[in-house]
Amino acid sequence: MLSAISGMQPRQLAAQVLNFALVLSTAFMLWKGLSVATDSPSPIVVVLSGSMEPAFQRGDLLFLWNRARNTQIGEVVVYNVRGKDIPIVHRVVRKFGGGIKPLRLLTKGDNNLADDTELYARGQDYLDRAADVIGSVKGYIPFVGYVTILISEHPWLKTVIFGLMGAVVVLQRE
């Protein structure tokens, strides 16, 4: 492998490195562009738990939309618990307020017996639509996000995958 790199012309090597940088920055721009379009800090999320089974299993990919601010009951929303950075995907089972009053929501996982009051921050009984919710689920693709669960559970996989991707992009000659 190293001999393959050292055998290249400097100009060709630079072109390959630039190519790799272009791939990374394109992916980043697509993500951020989608984020602006949907008004959500995280427009695509991977399901991490079985609390919405059988609708969503671990590793399923969800597409969010955050421009409809009058969230209705029965919608599936993704929210972050205050003070924790773990997105949770659950269904809205109670809705109060709206209009000029803040919209308050209570959520529950389809597969859980109890609602989410226990999950919320201490002293918080309802979610604030504007502050806590990062999007409402509109689209669904099963399983393809499972690789991110594997990566977060086995961090060394990240190094391996990035290494392989880099090697392929740099070494392929076209």
Binding site: S49, V93, G99, K101, G109
Partner: protein, 228 residues
């Protein structure tokens, strides 16, 4: 150049392309074979009984709130929602009632005319059911007890008027867009939440206490369930 790596790359690329196209076709055809109008479905709901009692949100809470327990009849045939791309139908019945009138009018006076100053109706799901096959899609419930005892955000729900029950559903696809629907038939006549049960002046202590305990017990039932 036909090395093993290039062949593997080509096979994988072809596989993902085919999988993507098939998934897109399934999503589009499934979406368009759903009934476009919920009114074409055979759905009706009727209130049978509603009671309001005091209770606690969970066993260790010192908070006292008013909880409504509702009984209803439901007839629903949701089998047209099962296309070849339907993974499950989440059926839910919600109680819908106006938000407390006093606070709404006070707020609208304070802030003047903003785009839609009035808060929408308050909603709470009283019953839900996950339906995963066409065979289970025909529901006929008689005098069914609500799964969830509901309360308002203020903790007070007694003596509210103009409440209705409404049936709604969410179709979860195998791949593609989630859809929601209601039917104009699937809405009950307006009813009122009655006054608090068994609040006799002084005498009703024992009855109130047992009722409280029941409510608290049921609310606590699943509170330790794992989530997230």
């Amino acid at each position: 150049m036909h090395s093993t790596l290039v062949r593997a790359q080509n096979v994988f690329g072809f596989f993902t392309t085919v999988a993507f196209i098939v998934g897109a076709l399934v999503a589009v055809t499934g979406y368009f074979s759903l009934p476009s109008d919920g009114n074409s479905l055979d759905v009706s709901v009727d209130l049978k009984n509603v009671q309001v009692a005091r209770g606690r949100p969970h066993y260790y809470s010192s908070k006292r709130e008013e909880y409504a327990q509702i009984r209803f009849d439901l007839d629903a045939d949701l089998s047209p929602l099962f296309t070849w791309n339907t993974k499950q139908v989440f059926l839910y019945i919600m109680a819908s009632y106006p938000p407390s009138v006093s606070s709404a009018s006070r707020d609208s006076k304070k802030k003047g005319s903003s785009p839609s100053p009035n808060p929408g109706p308050s909603n709470a799901i009283i019953y839900d059911k996950i339906i995963t096959s066409r065979d289970e899609a025909h529901l006929e419930l008689r005098n069914q007890r609500s799964k969830y005892q509901i309360t308002d955000i203020s903790g007070r729900i007694a003596n509210r008027h103009n409440a209705t029950l409404e049936v709604a559903w969410n179709v979860q696809p195998w791949v593609g867009a989630l859809t929601w629907g209601t039917s104009s038939e699937g809405r009950s006549k307006a009813f009122a939440f009655p006054a608090l049960k068994s609040t006799g002046a002084g005498g009703g202590g024992a009855a109130t206490a047992t009722k409280k305990k029941n409510v608290a017990g049921e609310q606590t039932m699943g509170s330790a369930a794992p989530a997230a």
